[in-house]
């Protein structure tokens, strides 16, 4: 069977926001891309269809600081399908102050190759 699947995505590379239509074959091979007004849109569309990635952000509980949480993010975009696993993995963590911006909290989180790093400091309460 050679079914063609049509995906519609909005390009976010520039403010124009082109609606791009991508047709893929059964085996995932890309058949056609249309609607993008420039080549950057094509690259974006291919990335989005084959392996979309996002930066993930959250907060992690911390003891002994001004605020009860530090904010964190992934050090680089991670595969979208790994996001639930990333969130699961960090949900059990409890930190102890002090934490500084850039501290690595989890290395290679959920096997994504990205680290979880702190984005808000948690100085120790005096």
């Amino acid at each position: 069977m050679n079914e063609i699947k049509t995906h519609r995505i909005t390009c976010i590379v520039c403010p124009l926001g082109c609606e791009i239509e991508i047709k893929t074959k059964n085996n995932g091979e890309i058949e056609s891309i249309s609607g993008n007004k420039c080549p950057r849109g094509k690259d974006y569309a291919i990335q989005e269809i084959t392996a979309p990635k996002r930066v993930v952000m959250s907060v992690i509980n911390v003891k002994g600081s001004v605020f009860p949480t530090v904010s964190v993010k992934t050090s680089k975009p991670v595969l979208k399908k790994l996001i639930p696993k990333v969130m699961e993995e960090i949900s059990h963590i409890e930190l102890e102050a002090p934490v500084a911006i850039g501290d690595v909290i989890v290395k290679n989180v959920a096997g994504s190759d990205a680290d979880i790093v702190a984005t808000r400091p948690a100085p120790r309460l005096k």
């Binding site: 403010p15 993930v56 959250s58 907060v59 949480t69 993010k73 969130m87 911006i101 984005t119 808000r120």
Partner: protein, 419 residues
Amino acid sequence: MERGSYDTIVIGGGPGGLAAATKAKELGMRVLLLENRDMLGGIPLQCVHPGFGLHYFKEDLTGTEFIYRFIDKFEKLGVEGYTRAHLLEIELVSDVEKRLRVATPNGIKKFETKSIIYTTGARERHIFEIGITGNRVPGIFTAGEAQTMMDIYGIMPGKEILILGSGDVGLIMARRFALEGAIVKGVIEIMPFPGGLTRNVVQCLQDFGIPLYLSHAVTRIEGTKRVERAIICEVTEDLRIKEGTEREIKCDTVVVAAGLVPYIKILEKIGVTKDEATKGPIVNDHLETSIPGIFTAGNALVINDLVDFVVEQGEEAALGALEFVEKGGIPTKRWRRIVRGRNIRLVIPHYVSGERDVMIYARVSKPEENVKVRFPEIGKEVKLQVVKPAEMIRLKLKKEEIGKARDKITMEVVKDERD
């Protein structure tokens, strides 16, 4: 009275205030910053998402990372500042002399200064301002309140959440709720287009399969001990409720992201002239208000979409304050008025001198493609592929260009015919 007098006192320690105070210090001014919360940083302290700093630092930072660069700089420069200092009153003694009455944990203090940079940010529009009836039960929050709960205190505001307003704030909160495991029942938008950036519609809603209801309004919120449901309906093009389109959405939480309004209560009290389009003060190209020596920047001036613009304005206000202090005023031979033309909903600043290059920030009323931004009096045109209400137009007018105008410069958006 505290001893000595300052060149400038900055009111508010968010991004605009921190940028203004550090710049003023670098310019060699005697500067004091007053912040009424117990920490410096303002709203970006609770913005854990990326998208900050692309203009200013040429890096993609989270709000928290962005603001700590300024907090660190503030501390490194040794700028004088008080937290938990609440401005009560400004007394105008003379053009170059202001007295501030400030409530602090150690009682009321008075400060003297030549100039003021007012960077108090914005307040959120509340549910009472957007005509929603029903029960006033727990479970109704503004987006900012929900963000403080979740991203500072680590408490989820609810389990099944309906968001009101599709500006960037509403969209970003939708993603945060979804990431943390809440069910986001939808985002309701009264206009026929989303209020926020396309990037956020894609990455905050589409990524999580969150429905966006355009041309919809919430009319009632119901519940007994807690929010149980919201009644939504479609609206017509002129934003009137369409009869018979009422529908119920079950939820335990309603988060109102209905926009921001410049928070300038104390400026209004002393008679600063306000622009009804921005709801902020009328300013000149040094961001000085109608009261000499009182400058403003950031969301107290105009609701900005990027913190990068806020700090840029803060630094401009500091330059203005320096000139004011050195010359005893902002001298100019002739002020030219910036006039709103076709499809320009608001524009900052309102008056330009032609003595310096000026950054213009403007917002359109409606989305358009293939347009030109035109300043007919000075013969300047800039082509843009697209303009949207969600994205500010920011462009520079050179002083030589401004000099060509006599008394006004119109800014308008027109179709690019040659397309």
